[in-house]
C-alpha cells in the first residue's frame, strides 16, 4: 500500500511551521523525520493522523483521496504519541483485551517473550523501554497499514532500543512506518528514507553528515 501526503501547510499564529510538505510512504518503508525542537515534526505526524488541523493537507492511500476525518474512524493509520497513552492504573494483562477482542489476537501479545516478563505489572510501574515496546507492539499488531511514531526511542534504555528496532523491522514487512526521534543513530540504522524539517521546508537526508549540513548536529557532537 502507498500513503501519499501532500500540500501540508501548517501555521501557528504568524509562524509558518510547515510549508507545502509532501512525501510518500509505502509498505516496507521506514521513513525518518528529523528536525530541531519546534521544527514541526510532531505537528506533521499529528496532522496526518488528524488530531491537529492543518491549513491544507491532501492524503491519498493507493491513489485514492482520503478525507482526514476518516483516518481514525477507518483505522488507516496508527499513532504513537510522545507521552504514554495507556492508563497507568491498569495492569498490562488487562490492557491487551482493550485492544484485541479475539483471544487468538490477544495470545500473540500475551505470549510475546518480553510481555510475559511484565504482564502482571501495572503500566505505571514499567520502565520506559518496556512501556514503549508494549505500546508499539499493541498498535503495531492492529490492522492499520501505516504507523506514525513520535519519539519511540526517547529516554529508552539501550537494550530496549535494540528490541524496539527489531520489532519495527519486523512490522515494516506489513506496514509503512514514519518515525521521528532525536536518537538519530538508532533511527538511521532502521530507516530507508530520511528527511529533515528546517524553516518549514523538507530536505533529504542520507547520513548523519547531512544532519550536520542542516545544522541539526554540530560537528563535534556527532555520535560515533
Amino acid at each position: 500500500m502507498k500513503l501519499e501526503v501532500s500540500k501540508i501547510n501548517i501555521t501557528f499564529g504568524n509562524k509558518k511551521i510547515l510549508n507545502n510538505i509532501s512525501f510518500e510512504c509505502s509498505t516496507g518503508d521506514i521513513i525518518g523525520v528529523f528536525g530541531r525542537n519546534g521544527s514541526g515534526k510532531s505537528s506533521l505526524l499529528k496532522t496526518i493522523f488528524g488530531t491537529i488541523k492543518a491549513d491544507d493537507i491532501l492524503i491519498k492511500i493507493d491513489h485514492k483521496n482520503i478525507l482526514k476525518e476518516k483516518i481514525i474512524s477507518d483505522k488507516l493509520i496508527a499513532y504513537l504519541p510522545q507521552n504514554t497513552f495507556l492508563p497507568k492504573e491498569k495492569k498490562v494483562r488487562d490492557i491487551i483485551p482493550l485492544f484485541f477482542n479475539k483471544s487468538k489476537d490477544q495470545e500473540k501479545i500475551f505470549y510475546d517473550t518480553k510481555i510475559t516478563s511484565f504482564e502482571k505489572q501495572k503500566i505505571g510501574t514499567l520502565s520506559i523501554g518496556e512501556l514503549r515496546y508494549l505500546e508499539i507492539l499493541l498498535i503495531g499488531s492492529l490492522n492499520h497499514p501505516f504507523l506514525l511514531l513520535d519519539e519511540p526511542f526517547s529516554m529508552v534504555e539501550p537494550n530496549y532500543i535494540k528490541i524496539i528496532s527489531d520489532l519495527l523491522l519486523k512490522l515494516k514487512q506489513e506496514k509503512g512506518i514514519i518515525i521521528t526521534d532525536h536518537y538519530y543513530n538508532d533511527v538511521l540504522k532502521i530507516t530507508n528514507l530520511n528527511f529533515i524539517l528546517k524553516d518549514g521546508e523538507k530536505f533529504p537526508i542520507q547520513n548523519k553528515y547531512d544532519l550536520m549540513k542542516y545544522n541539526y548536529l554540530s560537528k563535534n557532537k556527532i555520535q560515533s
Partner: protein, 93 residues
Amino acid sequence: MNYIAFWKYYVDVNFLNFVFSLVLFLSTSLFWAIINFSTFGVLIGYWGFHLFKENEYYMYYNLGFTKRKLLSNVFLFNWIFILPVLLILLIIK
C-alpha cells in the same frame, strides 16, 4: 465497535458524572440527579477526562474511536440505562 475499550471510557467519564449526580441527589431530588446524569453530568465527566486523562484519547483514536463517537455513545448508553428508571419514577409519582 470494541465494547471492552468503550466500556472503560464509559466508566471513566461517568465516574465524575456519578459523583456530581450523587451530590445533586442529596441536595435536590432523585429526578434531577437522573436528568443530570444523562445530560449535563456527561459533559462534566468529559471535561474531567480531558483534564486528567487527555493522552488516553490516543488509545481510543488508535482503536477507531473519535471523541465525537465516544461522547455520543456515552450519552446514548446513559439514556438507555436511565430511561426505564426515569419512566418507573414518573409512574410512581
